[in-house]
Symmetry: C2
Subunit: 455 residues, 2 copies
């Protein structure tokens, strides 16, 4: 959903003149009908920007819009569910067509098959609801499931809590349908787990943040749905102890989620939601979930882990509603700390190697004190550092400091949410000039006019 | 390991003149020392071909060879373990440097880490031996493990028997080091499970068959090593019944391998190895293996499956040597039928959608009768069809017939072994002109002189 285009800037004649966009609007209305052109965003972008927003209902509609835009040389910015954190799909600084894939709502699942064919506009929550009665489930899940669409998660190669067990979104996509900048539809939706024919264009487009093509549909792999789940929230004196305990859990196959959070996050959620704090006074906590067809096995995995790591307190649940109450301590962190901050949260999405993770979190505490809220996915080293009360003028310098520290520790400045517009400078820190040059060359191959997602 | 270059042909001045290769040989000897230039292959390729074979011992050596070759405009053909099936690494029709990665033998694994850093020349068997004392194992395994190198398996995105559980090689690679055609080394070996920074060049290079870069090292993810394994060989009246039963097994998480073979394959192995046939008279068999830390759970998975599918006979084992005897009925098929064929086997590596798999195997039997030997990985629809007694003159037409049938059933002509030189025509059948044009553009970005793996 995002944009690498400051890095990928192409020589290009000025595009998106008001007149052009207005005549394009007329063409698109003629192609798709009024209902697909939801808003003429002129007001939002200033009187002369002439941008518009379209919501095609099928792949042919996406193709028609892209063909029209390519002919008129108007930029196209794709939009998924809007849950991204890096400023990809927000207002852009020039006239463009905002192309929403939200109405691409196909969903085919043949009974018994470990694969489904799903439109880019289906949210993760809608996908889960439709698979719930079957023996299968999707491998990606995270807190923004009601908002995040399959297309958006593919475009950003989203992660979530089960990555150490099932891999990222890239590992879930068997086949892909996408539309190139000139409107050409490439559709390879065969659900084959093994298919090595030519270069993997599909894997290049996954995670490309909308700069190479617009994803319209995917064949995704499904995993067996375990019948039973058990969840435990376990207290530790500090993050270091919690992370050590998390590494024991990563070896136990029934354990599918290992989330960490500092004690301040727990307290913030308890206060915000007015529920009793289950682990009062602990410096850190882990939330573990195990899943298995046999409830004894699911529970045994958690008991074995508790025996091996001796957390100082635990709260456990097997029932759906009780598990949700425990998960709320992890998924409720962002709303709870948003409510406390006098400025928008300064959010980071970082991965650290296991051996540097505890040291990095210590560094954050020293550097930012009470402003730092630390939580994330322990098993894959993915830290969602959030800072409260950071004024606009300080955000750039603080981000630079964090990204420099992450790079120094061989981590990644973008675990799950991509580069977007917020992290373009950091990308240049993390990738060599040879890599950036190859990326620019590939962008030129896919989109010689630089139509897709400039920004 | 292979070559897409008939498809990717570039305008290029004639390269590899005898004089050029000989002076290159001198330069490479000076750079790497005599020991790295193993054979001057002049004899093998005809007196005037002037090819040579080099075996650098580190990444800098690979870089030096590529830089020298790029300057001299001499083609480079990479060579891994030599277990490929599509004619990638065999003798080439023009002068070139054969660059073996076999001596890139680094192997670092920090105790307790679910990742390792491994040189391209390490074989899957060597990797397994070094991990055997640890709590971790690699996710890819197949019969050619003694010969296949990590570099070769990455270059071809190899599969094997555990793909339905762990994914293909692409899903095992966390970080990659590779050398571009001009000698530039790109090294991103951080073992991060989540890292979305820029376009995924790494995923483009995995499976690219050596036409974009030479892989020298990788950070691979490791999986928990279950303490117990149980194997069962189960007889069914025919392939259709066996495949139906395989689909039940795919849902049981402890089951990690579901291999199928027709009755003739079983008989051939029994005769070739002079062991008693455990399932005499059965038209087809499945070999299942389950793995778990708890032996009861591993065995229960197999018993549950037997109860659910009622195979007409079974042979089971939990002990290492007994399991190997059962696996020999699957892994011994190729040597057993090679011994029966008056011509080299005509081998296919195909994936079919689950719903077309049984129908395709029926078609093969009708089409080729006793010459057809059918086996493969049931859970991911990967058929290793082998034909005995096919004379040279008939091979092209028969291959075309098979590939056409596979494409008509929405399958893939290359599951695990890539396109190589044998399947270039079939690639054009399976990919659209838009896709082929993008692939050509990408090849041009990575290798403008067309040095890497032409053929």
């Amino acid at each position: 959903m995002l944009s690498l285009m400051v890095v990928f800037c192409m020589a290009r004649s000025p595009i998106g003149q008001t007149g052009t966009v207005h005549s394009l609007l007329k063409n698109v209305r003629a192609l798709l009908g009024d209902s697909a052109v939801l808003d003429e965003l002129t007001a939002a972008h200033g009187a002369d920007s002439g941008s518009l927003r379209v919501e095609p209902t099928d792949t042919q509609g996406v193709s028609a819009v892209l063909r029209a835009c390519a002919e008129a040389e108007v930029a196209v910015v794709p939009e998924g569910g809007g849950s991204g954190l890096v400023g990809g799909a927000g207002p852009q600084p020039f006239p463009h067509v905002l192309l929403s894939t939200r109405r691409l709502q196909t969903l085919e699942h043949r009974s018994g098959e470990p694969a489904a064919r799903v439109g880019a506009g289906v949210t993760l929550a809608e996908l889960e609801r439709s698979l719930a009665p079957t023996a299968w489930r999707y491998g990606i899940d995270f807190g923004a499931r009601d908002q995040a669409t399959l297309g958006g998660t593919i475009t950003t190669n989203a992660g979530g809590s089960g990555v150490f067990r099932f891999g990222t979104t890239r590992q879930q996509v068997l086949g892909l349908e996408y539309v190139l900048a000139d409107g050409t539809v490439v559709s390879d939706l065969s659900p084959l787990m093994k298919d090595n024919t030519g270069l993997s264009l599909q894997d290049l487009i996954i995670g490309s943040e909308g700069i190479l093509a617009i994803v319209t549909q995917a064949s995704i792999r499904l995993w067996p749905r375990p019948e039973h789940r058990a969840t435990v929230l376990a207290g530790f004196p500090d993050l270091d102890a919690a992370l050590q305990a998390s590494r024991v859990a990563a070896r136990s196959v029934p354990i599918e989620a290992i989330e960490f959070m500092d004690g301040a996050c727990l307290s913030a959620v308890a206060q915000h939601t007015s529920v009793a704090h289950p682990l009062e006074g602990h410096g850190a906590a882990l939330l573990l979930e195990s899943a298995h067809d046999d409830q004894t096995v699911a529970l045994a995995a958690l008991h074995d882990w508790i025996d091996a790591t001796s957390p100082s307190a635990t709260a456990a649940a097997t029932d759906r509603a009780d598990r949700a109450r425990l998960w709320a301590f992890r998924e409720g962190i962002v709303p709870a700390i948003t409510a406390r901050s006098s400025f928008p949260l300064l959010k980071f999405d970082l991965t650290l190697p296991q051996e540097s993770l505890a040291g990095f979190l210590d560094w954050c505490t020293t550097q930012f004190g009470d402003a730092a809220w630390q939580f994330g996915h322990a098993a894959d080293g993915n830290v969602h550092l959030n800072l409260t009360d950071v004024a606009q003028g300080e955000r750039g310098a603080i981000s630079d400091t964090v990204y420099r520290q992450v790079c120094a520790l061989s981590g990644s400045v973008s675990a799950e949410h991509g580069i977007g517009r917020y992290k373009v400078a950091a990308l240049a820190q993390q990738r060599t000039s040879a890599e950036l040059s190859l990326m620019r060359g590939i962008k030129q191959v896919f989109d010689p006019k630089g139509i897709l997602n400039p920004g």
